[in-house]
Subunit: 200 residues, 2 copies
Amino acid sequence: MYTLYGMSGSGNCYKPALLMRQLGIAYRWVEVDLIHGATRTPEFLAKNPNGKVPLLELEDGRLLAESNAMLCYLADGSPLLPSERWQRAQVMQWLFFEQYSHEPAIATVRFWVHYLGKGEALRDRIRETRPKGYAALGVMEQQLGKTAFLAGNDYTIADIALYAYTHVAHQGGYQLSEFPQIEAWLRRVERQPGFIAMQS
Amino acid sequence: MYTLYGMSGSGNCYKPALLMRQLGIAYRWVEVDLIHGATRTPEFLAKNPNGKVPLLELEDGRLLAESNAMLCYLADGSPLLPSERWQRAQVMQWLFFEQYSHEPAIATVRFWVHYLGKGEALRDRIRETRPKGYAALGVMEQQLGKTAFLAGNDYTIADIALYAYTHVAHQGGYQLSEFPQIEAWLRRVERQPGFIAMQS
């Protein structure tokens, strides 16, 4: 059985949990309190030198870091990661978009505001970061005006990756009401078989 | 023939160029001056709504963004992207590490210092960012003390992705002399068949 080290409320940790539920893969969840330093202990750093969750442990002890690498690994061979080369390239494009252009703005502001309670103290930094988050939402909105899901008309791990922090973007002060295609897509994701909500 | 829209001196744009040379794939390079706004024109945004280079155009006009998605697409079926599932997962882990933990610190400080000439004006921001870059280099150093290349003993697209900005990290003021395993690995990458240097 897989072991998933993660923190409840983290979108990155929710991604592989949601995927494993949808693929019917059994796993054990180990809560890691990153806010209080649990990813920086010598024991944890021996498992992941980059000191981050999620971390996926296989039954034989092999370890895999990076939430989106887990999605690719776990979904390989399933319809959630298409085998056709161009389709797969579209999925990959959205996975890298998520980690580079979306998460650092959407998830980071949410972390500052919702977890650290520093909405006021970090006001200037938030004012600088939020437009980048809205730009990323704009890119998604444009795509979702053309296709039902991000990589085309089928649900894939690209949707899981981008659902994770988009559906809680309001906790960082983002207004999703300006993005009707995104709002409709959030509901489509939530209607997928095996969907589970993120634990908070 | 592929068309690669990119800016000379950009590590992200260099990645698919290096890979295509190594795989013997012909391509046409179109220089895009992002510093002077060429990725923000209506014409360019129609090709890539995220307004970034590199951008890969196929002969039939299909478009792919995100440098690491290009690496996956182009290397698919070659030894540079292993087909074995766990090996492939290791490559993916390093590709996401690069875009999330390495590039935003290493490439960003280089951009501020080397391209914008704001090493002094952005001193506080650089002082805050540089430890993240050194942390990423530390993670690489640890891996390269165990294996010849990042994802194991064979050269893969993970090495291309991380070579791109590591070999010019000094232009952002990073001292690589503290990282002997990385320095030896840079030379190993440069000895790979078909290697070309980044245009500056």
